[in-house]
């Protein structure tokens, strides 16, 4: 669903951030699983800007982002055979790994920071409105941006604080000052609404 078949576009072209930018990611990943390094190079070109961008967005630190992005991409190579096309698209599989790794790094850093400075909630980060503005302001993909706007404010904040900032739902609950169960349900409702909007193919 995230991928649209763009038949006929040669996949050696530099990927442009536009909807359905990953023709052949499934095919490439299948070749990668068979140890095809050349296919991996092409898959790299297809996904690396989003992997790096996502990791950097979550971590904020370019040097760390580069390190984690490298771990992610090597992980893609290493575990390519575990990708199951029945469970989702190849790009989604890659970004799931990337997001998980980035968040794991954030949590490890936070744990370390909390050991050193007994940081309270205030240490979690920037005020959410600033974050939300920044995230929305920098979104390059029209459709995703449009669809985020369709969410209610709390849904949008819950989703973006978790996804782009790597906050856990208890942290999001603190930041937004809404109860835990509300945060949990807003995250899910937000994703469902996002899905409906994205699958409706609404252009901004």
């Amino acid at each position: 669903m995230a991928e649209r078949d763009i038949g006929g576009r040669p996949d050696y072209l530099t990927p442009v951030p536009g909807p359905g930018t990953a023709p052949g990611a499934e095919v490439l990943l299948a070749a990668v699983a068979r140890g095809d390094e050349k296919a991996f190079g092409r898959l790299y070109d297809l996904v690396a800007p989003r992997v790096y961008g996502l990791v950097r967005r979550v971590l904020r630190d370019p040097a760390q982002a580069e390190e984690v992005a490298q771990e992610v991409l090597v992980e893609v190579w290493r575990t390519a055979s575990r990708f199951d096309p029945a469970r989702g698209s190849a790009t989604s599989w890659v970004f799931t790994i990337a997001h998980r790794r980035a968040v794991d790094r954030v949590r490890a850093e936070q744990a370390a920071a909390e050991r050193v400075v007994r940081a309270g909630v205030a240490a979690i980060g920037t005020p959410y409105d600033e974050v939300a503005d920044e995230v929305t302001g920098r979104l390059e993909r029209q459709q995703v941006r449009h669809c985020l706007e369709v969410l209610t404010e709390v849904q949008r904040e819950a989703v973006t604080l978790a996804f782009y900032q790597g906050h856990s739902y208890p942290q999001v609950s603190e930041l937004l000052r809404v109860p835990l169960p509300t945060v949990k349900s807003r995250m899910r409702d937000g994703l469902i609404r996002l899905r409906d909007c994205l699958s409706a193919g609404v252009a901004a």
Partner: protein
């Protein structure tokens, strides 16, 4: 573990859960095919958010990655998961179990997932289509009454009952399966007499069971019984849902 692990679905997809919750949810997913489907679907949605984070990596990243993979051994494909066995006459676990529970709790949102082009739905539909339609027809009945109680052992049992359909659905979402050799068993109680509405398999903690003639019953009970279930309850009720 959180009482309703299923409520974590969104947070899980967004990696906003801690390691313990993640493990609990992974366990939940192994038992619930439709939850897996919804998770896969929402993960696909979350991945689209990466579109908004596009940023050109430093050129050396490519060289470094390609150099590293040249010396990195790849994992062999994993063996396919063994198919789950079902025994006839035993309460069949609808794959939709926890999703239905959530549908009752969280409104109709979940059903839209089923209605939409779910890629994996074909498999599941073949498996559970008829039963699912039945469950859906009961849950969507205009006179449906929904009642829920907590299990003493942790978790929740929800009963939806409709006179119009002359049927009901029992949805069990326990926090965990009972110990080895023991199973959850569902009962309908009519005029003080319990009748088995089915027993779960060992190791199972979620179930959706359609019961014909449910509105005639006064209560629905849950017990933990020696596997594979008992003719009459042999243990105190773990939960009782009054229907009157």
């Amino acid at each position: 573990m959180t009482p309703d692990v299923h409520a974590l679905l969104g947070a899980y997809v967004l990696d906003a859960v801690d390691d313990i919750e993640r493990a609990a949810f992974d366990r939940h997913l192994r038992e619930c095919e439709v939850c897996r489907m919804e998770t896969d679907e929402l993960r696909e949605v979350a991945a689209r958010l990466a579109d908004g984070a596009w940023s050109a990596p430093p050129p050396r990243l490519r060289e470094n990655v390609l150099a590293e993979i040249a010396g990195t051994r790849q994992l062999a494909p994993s063996a396919p998961a063994p198919a789950r066995r079902r025994s006839p006459g035993r309460l069949r676990l609808l794959a939709a179990a926890a999703v239905v529970v959530a549908a009752v709790g969280a409104g109709a949102a979940v059903w839209t997932i089923q209605d939409q082009r779910v890629r994996d739905a074909r498999q599941l539909a073949a498996l559970a289509g008829q039963r699912e339609a039945r469950v859906r027809s009961i849950l969507s009945a205009p006179d449906v009454q929904v009642r829920a109680e907590r299990l003493t052992s942790g978790g929740r049992v929800t009963v939806a009952s409709s006179r119009l359909r002359d049927a009901g659905v029992i949805m069990l979402a326990a926090d965990g399966a009972p110990g080895p050799g023991r199973v959850y068993q569902l009962w309908t109680i009519r005029a003080g007499t319990p009748a088995s509405a089915g027993a779960l398999g060992e190791g199972q903690s979620t179930a959706v069971q359609v019961v014909d003639g449910m509105p005639g019953a006064s209560d629905v009970g849950v017990t933990v019984e020696p596997a594979p279930g008992s003719a009459t309850p042999t243990t105190p009720l773990d939960a009782v849902v009054n229907l009157t």
